[in-house]
Symmetry: C2
Subunit: 422 residues, 2 copies
């Protein structure tokens, strides 16, 4: 028996049917069950039932329809353009992104899709290099008169980081930009990428000009939410409705039939216009995100200062704390970093809410030491924004000023109560 | 005019009335408004209205009632036992925790409270030292026959870390243990500590023996939730309903009148018994929690190995990723750390869900390199558990085995769908 055989496995009295995957450990049987999940069974007995059906790569023959609008689709890798390779067991990116579109014939009825693949990277391997290339490609498309909007397919894990990067590099855009991922690969019955893509095309034809993540609203195939990229988090490892808005309502609810319900106050997003787009793709990668935990040593600050880092975003506890009293105090290291010109911004490890240095003495001490409290900005968004801000300003005062100016509506003066655990 | 004066401030045509707080910046007026919030007004005009009322420290004269059960109350600091000091503007811990009880006369009608104050620390300044002292005090109380349960008041920011520490050091307890905090200090109208404490006393009189965080269920003063400490997170910086269960339902809903509704499956918690309690307060603090961000350099791993750390909990993206491909790969550093005997555990930065190395090639590579995937364990819980496990086992295999054994029901074989964004 070999990988890609269809087998029945007997394990502790239970029977499982699926496709045998290459094992990663001696004696461990890995089956890809029919529902798409993998199961690991130690010492299971196997019976061969057949061989996995060879998956034919469908091909996409787009016929341009003059009556339809044009949307640019940039594919960058990730689950949405992946399939399981039963021979190796790995989830692999499709060689031709067209194959994905062949699976979703509805798309060709809504828009002419102009496909571009600048690179193919799993989302955890992205760096500022890829963000820069992506911003350049996006702006090129935005500035084409006939292009109504731009869709980017991307791995879900760092989708919100990339969305933030585009938000700062591109600024408030002139047309809709949708980032789309899939929580299930396209070989699975529960593949969510199809509906997400369809809703993203509708979003691109709307009047809303914002960088948004367009993903399932619930676990059912009913609606998608468009959530502003600077205020969005992946809240679950596997659920199709993993992406949720943080500290604000979603921009809009989108039905696969094209209906769009705007959920956010109208003055909180820009409407489409014809301006030619300005942008700045400079990013300084010498920025680090540090999550604090009680008992954690402040040596990490000294380490990054020594390595020449220019900025740090702290993910403190609650309203924005790190240890300040006692043996374990971070104060000395923070003061030394600030003295060397390193910008230190404070965010919270509570997913929702706002940091506020004015409540407790310990935070006032941190603020006096030069730590800048970043309102309700998400740590991920602040991490990216600081990379961008460091290429624009140098002095302590100017860095602080720009970090606290709303460049991509990344801060909300008021948080809508209804957005908590939305 | 001076701090603690009651003033009217005129700023951009608006008038604000409140108590003048010490300023932290030249020209900045800070007012404590009557609703308890602070407001900062640059260049406001002030008119003195009077002086803040001196707050009398109420005193608590507990009369022991023989008919009432006994509950031990351990105070450790934090907002719940704090008041604003108008002279300094700081929120200060009460010198006598009894003062708090004097404000909540209902408590004396439910139980005789036995008050202990082993130390007084803001929660961000806690370390494993305080956790050890606390565990010893808690177990001493648990083993007193007449004590029905133990309440710990604590700053909210790291309440879930301390709850985890107690869960591992004490193991499955013989009686209820409730951790309680306040999101508002006791001088504010919206003080939540009173209801939280009342519900915690009821929890301590219940039949449920588990380490639980007992806090407001909603922003209204209606009910509290008891949430198992190993599966709980502070999800909001300021809301009174900030504590939410992660990957499971709450243990119970508690009404201030003493009604308790159990929400969790009965086989998922232990019932009260009379066993004398065993415990181990050994913790190895040479553990670090590292949150990954795309573009982040793996030098951080080498740094901690060099410093002699014995364990690392990674907070990876999605199902448990760090960069594995390309220039930025963490693989070399991880392999070197594992070779030196450092335990590396993987959790997710998605607040909900489970890590799973069997889906993507990049994660299989990490697993092959020795990274242990920690199911649905929370990063904060895993950080504490590893400190505890490192004092019990030394070999790679034994460490892995113990990390993946449910010692305090910190992992769920199945995640209740209804627990998402509960």
């Amino acid at each position: 028996m070999q990988a890609s055989d269809r087998v029945e496995a007997t394990h502790k009295g239970n029977k499982y049917t699926g496709i045998l995957m290459p094992s990663i450990e001696k004696g461990l049987i890995i089956l890809k069950l029919d529902n798409g999940y993998n199961i690991g069974l130690k010492g299971a007995k196997l019976k061969k039932l057949g061989t996995a059906k060879k998956i034919k790569s469908p091909t996409y023959k787009a016929k341009l329809k003059k009556s339809l609008p044009t949307v640019s689709l940039i594919t960058t890798g990730g689950t949405i353009t992946s399939r399981v390779d039963y021979q190796t067991g790995a989830v692999k990116s499709l060689t031709k992104p067209d194959e994905l579109l062949a699976q979703i014939p509805e798309l060709a009825k809504i828009a002419n899709l102009n496909i571009i693949t600048p690179f193919n990277v799993m989302s955890e391997d992205m760096t500022s290099k890829e963000w820069k290339i992506l911003a350049q490609v996006v702006v090129k498309e935005l500035n084409k008169k006939k292009v109504k909007g731009v869709i980017i397919t991307h791995g879900t894990d760092t989708l919100h980081f990339t969305a933030s990067a585009l938000s700062f590099m591109i600024g408030l855009p002139n047309k809709p930009i949708a980032l789309v991922g899939g929580q299930r690969s396209s070989d699975r019955g529960s593949f969510d990428g199809a509906q997400n893509l369809i809703c993203a095309v509708h979003y691109c034809l709307s009047n809303i000009a914002a960088v948004a993540i367009v993903m399932h609203e619930s676990t059912e195939d009913k609606t998608c939410l468009a959530i502003r990229g600077v205020k969005c988090r992946k809240m679950h490892t596997t659920r199709r409705d993993a992406f949720r808005p943080i500290n604000e309502l979603p921009l809009a609810r989108i039905w696969p039939n094209g209906k769009i319900q705007v959920l956010m106050r109208k003055d909180w997003y820009v409407r489409r216009d014809d301006k030619h787009h300005m942008f700045s793709t400079k990013l300084d990668p010498r920025v680090v995100l540090i999550k604090f935990a009680p008992g954690m040593d402040s040596g990490i600050i000294d380490y990054y200062v020594k390595k020449g880092y220019k900025g740090m975003i702290l993910e403190g506890t609650g309203l924005g704390h790190v240890a300040v009293q006692g043996e374990n105090s971070w104060l000395k290291s923070i003061k030394a970093a600030v003295k060397k010109g390193v910008f230190i911004g404070m965010t919270s490890q509570c997913p929702y809410g706002r940091v506020d240095p004015n409540v407790y003495t310990n935070m006032r001490i941190l603020q006096d030491a030069g730590v800048v409290y970043l309102e309700d900005m998400l740590p991920e968004t602040a991490y990216i924004k600081l990379m961008w801000v460091l290429t624009k300003e140098k002095s302590k005062t100017a860095l602080k000023r720009l970090m606290l100016i709303n460049k991509a509506t990344e801060m909300n003066p008021r948080i809508d109560e209804a957005s908590y655990l939305y």
